[in-house]
């Protein structure tokens, strides 16, 4: 099977620093990929190249088997690569429908298009459809976003990308600010997305999340991809030792604190 998306040897330098060094990644339909690494490992740099925010210094991107390059995030989005950042980019003062259709509102036309009004009913109906397709329950679509919980907001942001035909979704720490129940809901939603044919790259620090949702785990360290494991054939221990560097564990002769925490949690 040809991958939906391929990054081949992407490299990005900032002055003397090589933030991402020859990183490659394949993404197949039906997969959730966990992208993990310590702070400064180069995850964000890599993702921003995929999302069109940064232009790689070296390397190539293939989407649907075609060589592509993005001069800005808009171009990546037009192809169907959507990125959901931690701030979600929702207007808190507007309702769910207005946010899903933000910037692309549905309008009624009167007098041959001379007068155009917003079709809020239609926007809410369409929003309801996409939300139910993703099994998302939000009590009232007329609610302002500010009255929704963190998980519901995350769901609205995801639903928006889906409504606009995302073919691949990148999520930056989607569970970071959520309570346990909400985390679970968002992870379920990630699986739903994936089952509906939209692969997800999920950046996370949380080993539990990554193992709960990802099929494949890609580990970055100091700008390089240091490992790639199928979640089923790996363990949090292995991933963490890849993240911090196996030799570090060896040198210190102790299990790093991060790993300790994980063992307790798992």
């Amino acid at each position: 099977m040809t991958p939906l998306f391929q990054a081949v040897n992407l490299t990005k330098r900032f002055g003397g620093l090589t933030a991402a060094d020859s990183v490659s990644l394949d993404v197949n339909v039906g997969e959730v990929i966990g992208l993990v690494g310590d702070n400064g490992a180069g995850k964000s740099t890599f993702i921003k190249m995929v999302a069109g925010v940064y232009q790689p210094d070296e390397g190539e991107l293939f989407f649907e088997s075609r060589l592509v390059s993005f001069s800005g995030p808009r171009e990546a989005r037009d192809l169907g690569i959507e990125t959901i950042y931690q701030d979600l980019a929702l207007a808190e003062n507007l309702d769910v429908g207005a946010n899903i259709f933000l910037g692309r509102e549905i309008k009624n036309r009167y007098m041959g298009g001379a007068i155009k009004t917003l079709n809020r009913t239609k926007m809410r109906e369409e929003s309801a459809k996409v939300l139910s397709r993703l099994d998302i329950r939000i009590p009232s679509l007329a609610q302002q976003i500010r009255n929704l919980s963190g998980g519901q907001r995350q769901s609205v942001a995801i639903a928006r990308t889906i409504y606009w035909n995302a073919k691949m979704v990148i999520m930056d720490e989607p569970t970071a600010a959520l309570g346990v129940t909400e985390q679970h809901k968002v992870l379920t939603l990630v699986r739903t997305l994936c089952d509906q044919g939209v692969p997800v790259i999920i950046i996370s620090h949380n080993m539990q999340d990554v193992f709960a949702v990802a099929d494949r785990i890609v580990v970055m360290r100091r700008g390089k991809k240091v490992g790639e494991r199928f979640a089923k054939q790996s363990t949090p221990d292995e991933i963490v030792s890849l993240m911090v560097g196996a030799e570090a564990v060896h040198e210190m002769g102790v299990i790093p604190r991060a790993l300790n925490g994980v063992q307790e949690a798992v």
Partner: protein, 368 residues
Amino acid sequence: MTVQPAEPAAVKPKRNRIENLEMVRKVWPWAFLVTLIVLFSIASQAANNVTFLSSRSIQGILLYATQVLLIGLAQTFVIIAAGIDLSSGWVLGFASVVAALVMQTLHAAGMSPVVTIGAGMLGGVLVTIVPGLINGLLIARVKVPPFIATLGMGILVEGVALLISGGYPIAKQPPYLGPLGNGSLLYFWPDHGLYFFNAPLTVTPAEAQAVIPLMPNPVFITIIVMLVCWFILAKTQFGQHLYAIGGNFEAAVRAGIPVKRTLVKVYIMSAVLAGIAGVIWTARFTSGAYNAGETTTLNAIAAVVIGGASMFGGEGTVVGTIIGALIIGTIQYGLVLLGVSPFWQYVAIGFVVILAVVMDQFGRNLGK
């Protein structure tokens, strides 16, 4: 056996606490206005044996409020987009001066009053596009904070209006201008009927007294402008984009909203509304004055705040601003009617503005 999940139908669409608080925030200005009218009715009845609520006083309040209303509408738009337009009052004066100068010149040149007045009014309104456009470009493209850009523009425009008027009121206006600015759309003459636009010809002073003017022309124009503004803000994509820009600027940009263009448009709109107010001022007082809107800007911002807008952007409605302006107009008119020193109106309006923000904060904090 499978356990059925709890029946969701049992959940009534009950109002939660947040919605209740939002109701309070929405309703209190109405309640305040009604209370104000009741209090003034009782007071004026008791003090002067005058009925406060008459067709005369209602029209008086509306006429009083037109300027604050028009500038308030302008502020509503820019404040929703997380901006402010401090140049409004001076743009108003500038428009009034330009309109008066055009009319004075054309009248002196012997042009017909219709052409003169038409050209003057159009000129006065159109000239405001210049400061509006510059405000918009400074704010949207050069990223000058709206407060500073419009403050500077206000002072600049005041100077230009002073330069072209020499600081004097511009009199010698064409005939019909005064009647246009002070006339009414309808006149009701009991036992005779309704008259459209022109007061009926009366013979005796008693007859003239009997004629009731309905709907002063400036109020009529303001109402039309209000309806247009309400439509734009509540029903169009442009209005929605203003809310989005004020609510989350970054999100608006990322959602592909033409943020810069929208901001330029909104500042032009604000200036043009000030222009309309300026032209109305010129028609009412058959003169042009650079300081015609000197006190209007801050009163208008007060009206917008009383109406529930947030100075951080993203919130506010045309209806709210109308209520806010009516509260201010009622206070001003009512105190005059009661014979209270007009200086008290500042104290009263200031109090209401602070009350409005306190109510808003109160609602928000309880909602958390």
